[in-house]
Amino acid sequence: MIHDSVIRPKLVTGEKTLHDVTTEICRPIENKPSTSWKVGFTLAVIFFGLLALTLTITMLYGIGTWGLNKTVQWGWDITNFVFWVGIGHAGTLISAILLLFRQKWRMSINRSAEAMTIFAVLCAAIFPLFHMGRLWVGMYWVLPLPNAFGSLWGNFHSPLLWDVFAITTYFSVSLVFWYLGMIPDIATVRDRATTAGRKFWYNFFSMGWTGSVRTWNRYEVVSLILAGISTPLVLSVHTIVSMDFATSVVPGWHTTIFPPYFVAGAIFSGFGMVLTLLIIARKVMNYQDYITIGHLEAMCKVVMLTGTMVGLAYITEFFVAAYSGVVYEQYAFINRATGPYWWAYWSMMTCNLVAPQVFWFKWARTTPWFIFMLSIVVNVGMWFERFVIIVTSLHREYLPSGWVMYSPTWVEIGIFLGTFGLFFTCFFLFAKFLPVINMSEVKSILKNRE
């Protein structure tokens, strides 16, 4: 059968020339910051200050300032850790997996998604680090503990140590990928620079890039290899995060479905956050020609698919608990849905399984304000997912005598809100000082360049 291919809509609209792309994407770097940037940045810095304050209080008075107790030893801290790590999954997914699949629509969103990844992982790292207590005795994490019988090393059988390796590898490889991809664009800014400061700094970070074809040739090879190794990496990170729970014997955690379910959830929440950020960025920075409705629609489809996968996992968990015949397992799930934290469970179900189903309708996928609202719902839902998994499983374990309730203190809430401050402070600085869209890749997909 001969199939006539439908001509796909253009990825970059507005009949741009190569020079237009350069001028428009360099504009925020070369001009003075706009009022909306200043307002947003100030707000972000205020919240960042809140982070500094609450972390200082934690350091001065100890973990007792948090609402954790002897039964619920992981509360908001690990909830927020998993929440931020999950958000950090979209960036490398977009740039690595979509590169391998030759999805060219990734090109105008990959830079900002990778930046988001790096900032989200930074925010995530704060929680387990500060949960450990005094950071300045941190040498103990990496060096063997001295004692009379020899050196006691870190336990490589422990999923917590796997997680340390997974997250640090993910962070540093993402950083390398992000920076390598940015060098050609930094060189473009350098060659247009008019001020001494810009000339110096962009020259410093462009590492002498000239755009030589030999360099481009190697650059393409390196991009492909990095994408190839980042793809299993991105899948491994949330798999290992899920093993922090799945390898334990806590009812509600001890589940083999966790790795794929966590990975789907991470992609879901990551795309949710990419949508939140990009819908604002394309409007404020006037990049509608680069981040088109087509891009938003494609991301909505990913959100719908992964949301449904997550929903299926929720239902499968229930089925497996019922089928297992283990009373503790069964109680953990009944307690989630009908116990004192029922509102968290049903918020999660509504936000993650039900809400994304509106994306079956084309109108919902192509209306930016609506997608924005939905992306917030997704973010909230995924936060609740982690809260439900962690807190409802811990607060009523095997012994009813140990059952308690958990609620966060203002310090914990402050740290969480503060990480949003850190995240947005980084993102605003990125939007001001670095090209938000990958110019060199976008140039290669303009008009007749097939």
């Binding site: 490589f156 590898t169 390398v176 000239t210 755009g211 990496l233 093993m243």
Partner: protein
């Protein structure tokens, strides 16, 4: 293909063809190469697929370097775990062998980490890139914006410069210039009078 060092030698003469259209650029580079002329290098603001073939570049050996770096990571992460957990102070949990499946995650992550950093460092070394280094060849400040440039060695007295200039202009070049010991000589006007 001649050695790139010749290009950096200021006493050698080089003809530059500057283009605006990537497709015309690609086909002209192919023509220049098929005439047997020495293309020193090309410059473009974005990767142009197929130009490495048109120029006659060899395949990069970087993947081999990436493999070796990954192998180093594999051996390193394996050795670290074996030494600390199975040799120096073996910890037996649940009577399971200390050297086993639980080493896989760190083994995997270590391999990935070394591959990524290895290939990035090799990439920088191979391209002689360094933080703060001044770009060595900037023929036109717009070569990172919207201009594509082909640099052809013109020392050889056998080269018919007029023919080459015409070939470049006919291929869509917007500017052709030659760098000699005295500086740049622009061929654009010569073409207009042609």
């Amino acid at each position: 293909m001649i050695d790139k060092k010749l290009f950096l030698d200021k006493n050698k003469t080089v003809i530059f063809g500057i283009f605006e259209n990537p497709d015309q650029f690609l086909s002209t580079v192919g023509k220049v190469h098929s005439k047997g002329l020495d293309i020193i290098d090309c410059y473009s603001p974005f990767p142009i697929h197929g130009i490495e073939k048109a120029m006659g570049l060899k395949r990069s050996l970087l993947p081999v370097g990436a493999f070796l770096a990954g192998l180093l990571g594999f051996i390193g992460a394996g050795t670290l775990q074996w030494y600390t957990m199975s040799y120096d102070w073996p910890i037996v949990i649940g009577n399971k062998p200390s050297f086993g499946v639980s080493y896989v995650p760190v083994w995997f992550e270590g391999t990935i980490l070394f591959t990524a950093f290895g290939i990035a460092i090799l990439f920088f070394i191979r391209n002689k890139m360094l933080h703060g280094k001044m770009p060595s060849e900037r023929i036109d400040m717009r070569q990172t914006d919207d201009r594509m440039i082909v640099a052809i060695a013109s020392d050889n007295p056998a080269i018919d410069k007029e023919e080459l200039t015409n070939l470049l202009f006919d291929g869509g070049a917007v500017e052709v210039k030659e760098r000699t010991n005295h500086g740049y000589e622009d061929f654009t006007d010569a073409n207009i009078t042609k």
